[in-house]
Amino acid sequence: MKTSYREALRLALREALIADPRVFLMGEDVGRYGGTYAVSKGLLDEFGPERIRDTPLSELGFVGAGVGAALGGLRPIVEVMTVNFSLLALDQIVNSAALLRHMSGGQFSVPLVLRMATGAGRQLAAQHSHSLENWYAHIPGIRVLAPATIADARGMLAPALADPDPVVIFEHAQLYNLEGELPASPDGWACDIAHAAVRREGSQATLITYGGCLPKALQAAEQLAADGIEVEVLDLRVLRPLDTDAIAASLAKTHRAVVVDEGWKSGSLAAEVVARIVERCFYDLDAPPLRVCSAEVPIPYAKHMEAAALPQPERIAAAVREVLGV
């Protein structure tokens, strides 16, 4: 079935709402408006305002209410319009959701799913283009997911809801319109939320990436293949806890790594991945690992400037040539 990333997310939401009466969706404009990115369009009509719950502009309040509702026995899915606005709710995510289990000596778990859009590329300027997945990936007590494919958009919600602990799902704004084939059977899209996935096999270098940069990395790999360079593309998928074994397995084969991350290079998730490569795979390496990240600048509005700030297939391909010394 041909479908979009957006529709795949909606299918997963619908399925979750039908499967479990404890599940409800809450957030700004998820109901009447249909969701900022139209993900929840139509769900209000089908499930009603109790379960498709529009909230006021109160990120801290409704994310915290989601934590409370999870403590109270429900399975809330809370949508925050974008990661930029989630900063207003950071207290409840970092100081409540992630910590309650440990601070209570294991008495309370918080089965909350938090969905938010992330990333740049739509000329929305700095306050709507952040990529702060690494901030969340820093926090013990939460699981952080980044579906980059239509299958993952379809498949990640169910295991996230089944997780008794808080899960944060990042949906890259550039991916919503992505179209492709969604296998009809769950065998084709059902997934665990623990493992990275090899999206393209290759032997000469590994491109490690996630989320909105996956299509760019795959494009770069295509370009390189045209020149006879075979790169492996590893999609991290799960940003916390990182699947270090998958990274190590790929490097044992390719011996060269380029990490692609839309976050700023300083303190990025890419920095963490490189650190793990150095700690774990140092003697497998034939070249220093490289990073392709966003320029250290608030994401500009002008199209050419925005494009220049973000990782692009050309820069990714150039980095691969550099680690290969060709």
Partner: protein, 338 residues
């Protein structure tokens, strides 16, 4: 600020005919007082560490409030929560062991004084971010409403929290969705060293709640009967529907904000004036005047409280430490419990 402020006259306490209740209230205030005095002493001795926020002077608030709730209701509290935890039924042994950081503590020693939790008693903390518990309370109430459970959720916080956005977002949500939340503001006039009038443009706290169309009333937080009556009415009103209720309990802490606080921001005379209205001695004097209590009975209650404290200290002293090998436990739910 004068120790006496305007209050509504409380309606008759719903449980006033419960003849055992007054002595229970007194006994419970004594239990909190003796527990905390001991905590201060143990802090001096280095047995209890970290932040320790004592509630001495405010006991009428916890006693009146917790006795007005049903066992099945939810309670969310702050870091000044020893009294609330105790009166919700968390065993004093488990509280004291938690203060010591022992594995037998009510949070397995992971929380300490500021993070007392008890799932079985629906006690949700122990929240040390000012205002942080308010959205949780709204969510708990939302869950109960959606699950059609008759519980209400009481959220205890200080007047300082009302300057935080979390208060405004939470009370708005609770009112908008008509959720069964009891907002219990324990107004002890100071947020650390910041007096209410130095932090809020509107110092009439009930007016702030009323701005969200939430029913609100103030009560004398030094008078346990007044607290019990006011909160009792509010609880009944919330249970009957019609959404949240805000109660301001006008109280005062006799001790510093925490053990690190030299308490330089308020007059000794002010503290002394409030101590005249201390909830334990005024209430026991009342009970004596009413012929419900004599000195011997008071001493028996006090001795029982002290004995409970001594036993809790002995328990905590003897309790084992959790092995460091368990450091990483309870960050996530273990496989077996999933």
């Amino acid at each position: 600020m004068s120790p006496r402020r305007k209050q509504e006259t409380p309606a008759a306490a719903p449980a006033a005919d419960d003849s055992a209740l007054p002595l229970r209230l007194l006994a419970d205030m004594l239990r909190i007082r003796r527990l905390e005095e001991k905590c201060a002493e143990l802090y001096g001795a280095g047995k209890i560490r970290g932040f320790l926020h004592l509630y001495i002077g405010e006991e009428a608030c916890a006693a009146g409030t917790m006795h007005a709730l049903a066992a099945d209701d939810n309670v969310v509290a702050t870091y000044r929560e020893h009294g609330h935890a105790l009166l919700r039924g968390v065993p004093m042994n488990a509280i004291m062991a938690e203060m010591f950081g022992k594995a037998a503590g009510c949070s397995r020693g992971r929380g300490g004084s500021m993070h007392l939790f008890d799932a079985a008693r629906r006690f949700y903390g122990g929240q040390a971010i000012v205002g942080g518990g308010l959205p949780l309370a709204v969510g708990l109430a939302l869950a109960d409403r959606m699950r059609k459970l008759p519980r209400i959720t009481a959220c205890v916080f200080g007047e300082g929290a009302m300057a935080e956005g979390a208060f405004h977002e939470s009370i708005n949500l609770a009112a908008l969705w008509q959720l069964p939340v009891l907002f219990c503001c324990e107004n002890n006039l100071y947020a650390m060293g910041t007096a209410l009038a130095r932090s809020e443009s509107q110092t009439d706290l009930c007016a702030k709640a009323a701005a969200y169309k939430v029913r609100a009333r103030a009560a004398d937080g030094m008078d346990v009967r007044a607290v019990h009556a006011a909160v009792g009415d509010a609880v009944a009103a919330v249970r009957a529907g019609g959404g949240p209720f805000f109660v301001e309990l006008q109280t005062y802490r006799f001790r510093a904000h925490s053990m690190f606080d030299p308490d330089l921001y308020r007059d000794k005379a002010e503290i002394e004036a409030w101590k005249q209205r201390g909830p334990i001695h005024t209430f026991s004097a009342q009970l004596k005047a009413e012929g419900r209590l004599d000195e011997a009975a008071f001493l028996r209650l006090d001795a029982a409280a002290q004995a409970e404290v001594d036993a809790a200290v002995a328990f905590a002293e003897a309790a084992p430490w959790e092995p460091v090998a368990d450091l990483l436990r309870d960050v996530h739910t273990p496989e077996a419990a999933r």
